[in-house]
């Protein structure tokens, strides 16, 4: 009895398979001229993360309008999906496979070794082995950012407000909350502190780390003592954890600065964001492939090539501050000023 039923089920399953296979439409025929195929793999944040993944997709969409490309996206549901998602694009001979974020470093390292003829790009990382060593595969380009450039611009804003008595408490104290003391985080803080001191030599910059990138409560715990000690502008460099900085700043009536992407919607206390322009980096990587100028190694995005910057909102920027910002940005762009990569004393 059970067997008969199973056989019946088998028939149904086969029928379903056949029906689905027949229903599929054949892929479009060959088109004149080469259409470049670009595959984008997000990390677990997904396309609507309002940050890296979203910006990478913005870059891809812009490239779609400018070049003859077919752009496809795969969102990774879990860390288990990185390798299969990258492998699928590579196995279908895509011209460029882009991985978003350093979490995908090892997956990029593995897959780029298996497909030496496919080009790969990775935001904020490299293709590494299990020990984190860069494998330096010639078919991988790392897209890095000069975070200190973006940090310097928001540092100018904070320092100028303190110097001119426009901050909430005017005790010449500001703060920065980092996630973990790693290079990308410290680059941001270095530029921020350097520029704030340049604007207001009497300023005191408090720096703390939450040792976490996800838990807002941890970052709030670091930010609250800074606010109690007189800090009235707080720069968060801690991803999701840093949302706690923005929120506690709002609750305590002081101001805050967002990071990586435009964070104006995160909290009304946010007056500016230091930006990593992942869209520019993604677009540039695609452009290089389309124009046949792909090179393995690293590309660095900074103010000089429009790959880093800042955004201001929720407050009226005084004309003098805007003049100052434009001046500093111009000087960084021309190389007259170079924000440091290490946090100054």
């Amino acid at each position: 009895m059970g067997h008969k039923r199973l056989r019946f089920l088998g028939l149904i399953a086969v029928a379903a398979v056949v029906a689905m296979a027949c229903g599929s439409t054949p892929s479009g025929g060959a088109t004149p001229g080469k259409t470049f195929k670009i595959g984008l793999v997000t990390d677990t944040g997904g396309l609507n993360d309002k940050s890296f993944n979203h910006l990478a997709d913005v870059g891809l969409e812009k490239a779609k309008t400018d070049f003859k490309i077919q752009g496809d996206v795969k969102e990774s549901k879990t860390g288990d999906d990185y390798v299969p998602n990258l492998t699928d694009f590579a196995s279908k001979n895509y011209d460029l496979v882009i991985g978003v974020g350093f979490l995908m470093q090892q997956a990029i390292g593995t897959v780029s070794g298996q497909f030496p003829n496919i080009h790969f790009a990775i935001i904020d990382g490299a293709g590494t082995d299990a020990k984190g060593n860069d494998l330096k595969h010639p078919n991988v380009v790392s897209l890095f950012f000069k975070e200190q450039d973006a940090g310097a611009m928001v540092g100018v804003i904070a320092g100028w407000l303190e110097k001119n008595g426009k901050a909430k408490k005017n005790k010449h104290v500001i703060g920065a909350v980092g996630g973990v003391s790693i290079p990308p985080v410290n680059h941001y803080i270095a530029g921020y502190k350097w520029a704030a001191k340049m604007e207001d030599p009497s300023i005191q910059v408090k720096v703390g780390y939450s040792n976490n990138f996800n838990d807002p409560a941890k970052c709030k715990g670091v930010a609250d003592p800074m606010i109690a000690a007189g800090a009235d502008i707080l720069f968060q460099v801690a991803g999701g954890c840093g949302l706690g900085v923005l929120q506690t700043a709002g609750q305590k009536g002081v101001q805050s600065i967002g990071v990586d992407a435009d964070q104006k919607d995160a909290d009304p206390s946010v007056i500016a964001s230091a930006l990593k322009k992942v869209d520019v980096a993604t677009y540039t990587a695609i452009q290089n492939v389309v124009q046949g100028s792909f090179q393995g190694g690293a590309l660095t995005f900074s103010i000089a090539n429009e790959g880093a910057g800042y955004a201001v909102y929720n407050f009226q920027v005084p004309a003098e501050l805007q003049t100052e910002l434009d001046k500093i940005q111009g000087q960084i762009k021309s190389g007259a000023l170079t924000p440091p990569a290490d946090i100054p004393a």
Binding site: K74, E75, F89, S91, A130, N212
Partner: protein, 391 residues
């Protein structure tokens, strides 16, 4: 049996029909969506040049931990226990496997591989055993304790790889890699010889497949061919009757949870030894242990059912990504399908779940005096007849 099979199959069918309607309503093409799912799941009907062998390999990689973790949910379910903690037990197993694999990384495979697998099982067993002992001794409900232990395991893992002893290096959120002796071999040889049109190392399917099928077989044998399995089923049917028949309910609860945790820990250890070779922060978001609950329910708690349900869920997981890139439909549709399947099963299980959950046992409103509106009755505490029952 017939009615039993109709339920899971009906649930899956219903989910796919509703999923197609959702596609249509949102302006997407359900045929394209399901073609992509089918291609990514089992390698059939691919339209964009996907490699069929690669798709099947990926599905099996997702299938392997689901089977073993599914068993870890199904076994306690047979004893009337709801193990929501498979995820935590799986993580405990993965952590133990990694710790041993890192610590003794120079040992050869015949020594190290059994060590990491047994270590993972032991860690999972201890993790579930805590809930079992609490249930058997002080009556702490296993649904609550196993859920809480999930968090403990997640944060333990977080500590281990961020600032803790297993961290690879400053600023990373991964562990050191386990020694080569702790790796489970892949079915296809490592290296870049071309097999089915692609370098053989892209096929990640590994011999953990055998481990998971053995786990399912061991589960069936334990449940139906041993006296302990009989005791588990007896306790699951009725604790009072089992006690009258001379079964120690406490002992059965504790050992059931220990064995279940062993299975879940094994799932985590096999994942590390067979695929990842280190711990990453993916476990902050991993859902294998929760999918295992759906797998166990859909599989009706039987070994064969769990295998089929795991194949379905593995194929859905693997197919979702292909569906997204081929049909342009968000792979979140897969989560919708999984949720719909679970929802329709859960609707069938309501009676069973009510029996198991602590608040499911309260008598309905008939015990409330007629002059009181039902809401007031709920506000003023449990109805009198329940109090009597407790005494």
């Amino acid at each position: 049996m017939g009615a039993g099979l109709a339920m899971p199959l009906g649930s899956v069918l219903l989910a796919f029909v509703l999923g197609a309607i959702i596609c249509l309503v949102t302006g997407a093409d359900p045929i394209a969506a399901y073609t992509g799912l089918l291609c990514g799941g089992v390698g059939l009907g691919c339209t964009q040049g996907e490699n069929s062998a690669l798709q099947i390999s990926n599905t099996i990689v997702f299938f392997i931990p689901l089977v073993t973790a599914g068993v870890a949910v199904a076994l306690p379910f047979r004893a009337g226990l709801f193990n929501i903690g498979a995820e935590g037990q799986l993580i405990a197993g993965a952590v133990a496997c990694t710790a041993i694999g890192v610590q003794f990384q120079d040992l050869p495979t015949p020594v190290l591989l059994p060590m990491v697998l047994i270590g993972g099982m032991a860690a999972g067993a201890i993790w579930a055993g805590i809930a079992g002992v609490l249930k058997a001794t002080v009556g702490a409900h296993e649904v609550v304790t196993t859920i809480m232990l999930n968090y403990v395991a997640q944060w333990l893992l977080r500590y281990m790889i961020i600032g803790g002893p297993l961290q690879l290096g400053e600023g990373t959120s991964t562990s050191k890699p386990i020694g080569a002796g702790a790796h489970i071999a892949t079915v296809f040889p490592a290296g870049n010889a071309i097999i089915f049109g692609l370098p053989s190392s892209v096929y990640r399917v590994h011999w953990g497949l055998a481990v998971s099928l053995l786990a399912a077989a061991a589960f069936a044998f334990l449940l139906w061919r041993t006296s302990f399995g009989y005791e588990i089923r007896a306790v699951g049917q009725s604790q009072k009757a089992a006690r009258y028949a001379g079964v120690s309910v406490r002992r059965t609860i504790i050992f059931t949870m220990l064995i279940a945790g062993g299975f879940a820990g094994l799932a985590g250890a096999v994942q590390v030894a067979g695929v990842d070779h280190n711990l990453t922060d993916k476990y902050f978001y991993d859902t294998t242990g929760f999918d295992a609950i759906a797998v166990a329910l859909l599989g009706l708690g039987s070994a064969v059912g769990i295998i089929f349900a795991s194949l379905l869920f593995g194929a859905l997981h693997s197919g979702g990504a292909i569906m997204q890139s081929d049909a342009g439909i968000s792979s979140n549709l897969v989560l919708v399908l999984q949720a719909l399947i679970l929802f329709s099963i859960a609707a069938n299980f309501v009676g069973e779940i009510r029996r198991i959950l602590p608040f499911g046992r309260a008598k309905p409103t008939e015990a409330i005096p007629p002059e009181m509106p039902p809401a007031a009755g709920l506000m003023s505490g449990p109805p009198a007849s329940v109090e009597d029952e407790v005494k």
